[in-house]
């Protein structure tokens, strides 16, 4: 699974992306657990940061598989 970081999450992890191996299909909470296990400092962002799966916002129904691209979307500020 390719994981993309933007804005503050990129600053915190010090990287724009990482590869993470997952098995089966996981929900949002499980993906967060895996992310925090890989990068513990991401825990600070869980409440404010949305996940996207293949370019669309994830919700409670979303299931992630290893082939997906996940992006961490902190609060946006465009315009």
């Amino acid at each position: 699974m390719r994981v993309l970081f933007f804005a503050q999450t990129r600053d915190t992890t010090g990287t724009a992306e990482l590869e993470m191996k997952i098995s089966g299909s996981l929900g949002v909470e499980e993906i967060w657990r895996a992310l925090i296990a890989a990068q513990p400092r991401l825990a600070a962002f869980q409440k404010t940061t949305r996940l996207a799966c293949n370019g669309e916002y994830a919700d409670a129904e979303t299931r992630f598989i290893d082939a997906d691209e996940v992006a961490l979307i902190p609060p946006v500020s465009g315009g």
Partner: protein, 139 residues
């Protein structure tokens, strides 16, 4: 509704106009430009730097425009958002809405900007002080 979205690192010029093909059918052309101000959080700045998750930013903008157009039917929407370092006084975002009537054009424009600021993955990454911006231009 015709939708044209551009995410660019280049300056957004003033060349945008109502699409010629709607001449005769359109009764309104509403434009908005979001421009970088000289202060950010009370600090004097010379530029802002923007970044985006570009593929998703484009698809989210399209989705928002299509959703709003169901309620406020318009003929066309053009959006350009600039990324990278944008000096004070220059345009960060441009929107041009072509419609039959002004009410729909204004409503779509205002609704789009509100949603953009909630859902489109674009970020102001940092502000540059005049000294930082001058040093960057020299390098």
């Amino acid at each position: 509704m015709e939708i044209e979205i551009q995410i660019t690192s280049q300056p957004i010029g003033a060349q945008k106009k109502m699409p010629e093909k709607f001449s005769g059918s359109a009764g309104a052309f509403a434009e908005f430009s979001g421009i970088v101000r000289a202060s950010e959080n009370g600090q004097k700045i010379a530029a802002l730097e923007y970044e985006a998750y570009s593929p998703m930013a484009e698809s989210e903008m399209r989705r928002i425009l299509e959703t709003l157009a169901e309620k406020f039917p318009c003929l066309a929407a053009r959006v350009s958002h600039r990324l990278g370092i944008i000096p004070v006084g220059e345009t960060a975002i441009y929107i041009g809405i072509t419609a039959k009537h002004r009410v729909e054009a204004f409503a779509l424009l205002a609704g789009f900007m509100d949603r953009l600021k909630q859902d489109v993955p674009i970020w102001k990454r940092r502000s540059l002080t005049p000294a930082e911006f001058a040093a960057l231009k020299k390098s």
